[in-house]
Subunit: 513 residues, 2 copies
């Protein structure tokens, strides 16, 4: 087994070469490297207050590690005061333990051109994660299937501004609960060559994810490099359950990355105020990341913050709100002071349709995430209805908007060409720039251009059917899925993955809960 | 004539009291005072380069003051080198002349509770300006009429997050060109009590605006206070036409405010690069504001920047783009270094419908304007189809979203209640915050809540007709216009305004071009 399968598929044996010749190439933008500042909403005094209070929570109130005696042992050995399942962490200890986590790391893809850097000034974009339903214009809202899952992986593979294939792009509810992780991983590995996430629903499924990755990349390569970034949610407030932590332990021991992230609906799982929520988020992240480092010092982690507000009338989570923006900005500052990669943001919305509400809320969320310094953005496209639905149309609509983040992040070029003084001299008062030399030399790259939205004159647009954005997106989905071709993959590797899935599926009976 | 008509209408004679008793009260939020930092995209070196280059433009290339010999005389007397209509302004002179303009000013409304501060850390929101068409769900796209105009003034009056009644909320194309300013001003003065804008399409119409304002506020009050903020566009590149400048001169001489603003489609009226556009914008603003101060030192002005990018495929202006964001952020920094109020931003979009495209582009624009430090945002709601259309539905959709800017700008409260440490202690690991005392004490004001968007569970939403945002907005428009009641106005003043309009209309024949 070669140690970089992606490379072998490109340059390897006859079957790989045949596969490569028949495959079309789909452009993917490099992950974003920011050339603009972060937006820093909290001043030094506020940051210190929150940090002090977070340590107060850890020391005085403590956090629960549930059904996980080994974790309690590790905490005890590290100097925490453990009473039952409650872990009281002395002021400063958690932050000290976090220091062994890398400030940034590479997640490898089977196609090395798709490797991503997670951390620093960079931003990696990954699609929606977790919805049990899908929606498209033709079929409406329905339970997601493995066929939907494969479609979303294909769309992600073909989306220029998406750097990462993600994880549970929807829940394939037609596959048994205890086996669907195998089909999901298989789809990411075979239908895309972008980096992907592993399963977290059971420690054994995390181990399956590692084992399948070893088939794809080679065992030695996986031992020495990070090829998965998986999502470990904290049960807020301040509870770390045994199953999630068990999955995290598998990944950490195998040097694979995890996103350690509170999942908070403000007012329900955290205080109703922003500063209070930030304090709890920081305490939870400190405890979770510190624990990962107890499992394996140096294990790559991303400090996450998934926070929404709540509509106190209906109890529904709300998205794209100013309070969510406050928290995303503030948490970014707190995480940077921990010198860790930061996960937050996404194409969040509460709307049932990919309509104006969906777009307002999503644009609010995407813009704040860029300026908040997010390093890893899960849910960057396709999220609908508070995360209950993966939307085909919204997936491509959002994926198109992600182009704006790439261009925004480039900042303003101040070289002579950017200053354009000669162009201003050439054109002069009352002239126009459309034909001037500077415009001709720059127009192709000067302005971001949507591949989806309508820029036509009214009359043309009207004659062509007066299509709204959802209609344009539905057509684009249809075209993309029609044009899709799988990236080349060594046949031996493909067979070994198929065998692994078949063998694992045969080894246990189906379970649907 | 009383000097504050708005006050007299509240506390004055019997007719005013009767009018007041029958009027309903509509809540309007105070203008935004930011408690968050600005986003500063340019560093000191970049700012200095742009400032140096702008002065190079003014000195070496110069600007044209067209068909305006009096302006040329003023420039000559101020030390500029005037050749024909070209004014070469020595390095540093324009900036020096700008120094007499106030850094902020109050624009008075006839209802003193609606007065706004323009400048400093504040943000005033005004509706869409200029479209010849309107669109609503029931009637589609059509030429705007004075009835539409009146409807938009009513919606603006009733919109909680809108501080300003604006100006040409749509072009009433059924009224002669040379008379429509009278009907427009009359509508703002009578149907709303928020501050408004005057006419700029002819110097004589600017004078009519001043004269009507004197009837509304009293002549002495208008002599001593600013009651209008009117939009003076520069013909980029670097051309100041006699009619626009003539209108500006009328306002400046009467101590009324103007927005002096390039109107730029990048790549056509300015270089295709961001730094080049910023340089030209700064040069134009410097020349325009300096000229206003030559007309009357101390006249209140707002330095504007209306800049879009262009789709080089179709030639159409594009909105909500990263390049527009770069320019809006950068221009804010440059204007702040001039110590002037800053106008930019708006509910910009190119979409033909109030759909997802419209909302993405608008949200991108609104968010950047808040963070860019904009002080006066024209077009804050209702803009559709590149400014060709005032949309009824988008007006109320955008107006609702403006609430997010108010809450974002509040920043993060760091007092004990905000820190919420007692709530975190009370709830503890594994609990929930829904019933806790801190949540009960804060939930009403903790989270911004839309008055329009859908927060219902899927099933309820589906049973109620599965309405999209445009449908919800159409229903809201209908309800608002049905609920509308005019604010109280002294009958004598109302009659004098009606008489003025009738007399002026009778004094000249209709003109339709």
């Amino acid at each position: 087994m070669n140690d970089v399968a992606g490379r072998r598929a490109r340059g390897g044996g006859g079957s790989a070469r045949r596969a490569e010749r028949s495959a079309v190439s789909f452009e993917t933008a490099r992950y974003i490297s920011r050339n603009i500042p972060n937006f820093e909403i909290l001043n030094e005094e506020a940051l210190q207050i929150i940090e002090w209070n977070a340590d107060t929570i850890l020391e005085e109130i403590g956090v629960n590690f549930v059904e996980n005696p080994a974790a309690l042992d590790l905490w005890r050995a590290a100097g925490a005061d453990v009473k039952g399942e409650r872990v009281h962490i002395p002021r400063g200890l958690a932050r000290k333990l976090c220091a062994t986590a890398p400030s940034q790391f590479t997640q490898y893809a089977r196609n090395p051109a798709r490797n991503v850097n997670v951390g620093g000034r960079d931003l990696v974009l990954a699609p929606v994660y977790g919805p049990p339903f899908v929606r498209d214009r033709a079929g409406g809202r329905r339970y997601a299937t493995i066929a939907d899952f494969q479609n979303f992986v294909k769309l992600g593979y073909m989306s220029k501004w998406l750097h990462h294939s993600g994880g549970t792009v929807c829940e394939p509810t037609d596959v048994p609960v205890n086996k669907r992780h195998l089909d999901m991983l298989h789809a990411h590995m075979v239908l895309s060559d972008k980096p992907y996430m592993g399963s977290v629903t059971e420690p054994s499924r995390a181990q399956d994810s590692v084992d399948m990755s070893k088939l794809l990349f080679g065992a030695d390569f996986v031992d020495q490099n990070t090829v998965m970034t998986s999502l470990i949610n904290i049960n807020s407030p301040m509870t770390f359950d045994g199953i999630m932590m068990g999955a995290m332990e598998v990944y950490a021991r195998n040097n694979q990355a995890t996103i350690i992230s509170p999942f908070i609906v403000g007012g329900a799982m955290a205080p109703v105020t922003v500063a209070g929520t930030l304090t709890q988020v920081l305490a939870e992240v400190l405890a979770g990341v510190a624990y990962s480092q107890l499992v394996r010092p140096g294990a790559p982690v991303i400090a996450g913050a998934f926070v929404t507000s709540i509509d106190m009338n209906s109890g529904a989570p709300t998205f794209g709100t100013p309070e969510a923006a406050h928290i995303t900005y503030g948490a970014g500052q707190l995480v940077r002071r921990l010198n860790l990669p930061y996960r937050s943001g996404g194409s969040f919305c509460g709307s049932k349709l990919p309509d104006a509400q969906a777009a307002y809320e999503t644009a609010n969320s995407l813009n704040m995430a860029l300026l908040a310094g997010v390093n890893f953005m899960l849910h960057a496209c396709g999220w609908l209805e508070g995360g209950l639905v993966s939307s085909y149309e919204k997936f491509v609509m959002d994926a198109d908007q992600l182009g704006t983040l790439h261009h925004l992040a480039q900042g303003i070029s101040m070289d002579d060409n950017g200053q354009a003084l000669d162009a201003i001299r050439e054109v002069g008062p009352g002239g126009h720039y459309l034909g001037c030399q500077h415009t001709q030399a720059n127009f192709k790259s000067a302005f971001w251009r949507s591949d989806l939205l309508d820029y036509k004159p009214f009359e043309t647009w009207d004659e062509e059917g007066a299509r709204d954005t959802e209609t344009l997106a539905a057509e684009r989905v249809h075209k993309m899925l029609g044009d899709y071709q799988a990236p080349a993959l060594d046949e031996g590797i493909a067979e070994s993955l198929t065998d692994f899935v078949a063998r694992k599926k045969a080894s246990v009976p189906d379970a649907f809960i």
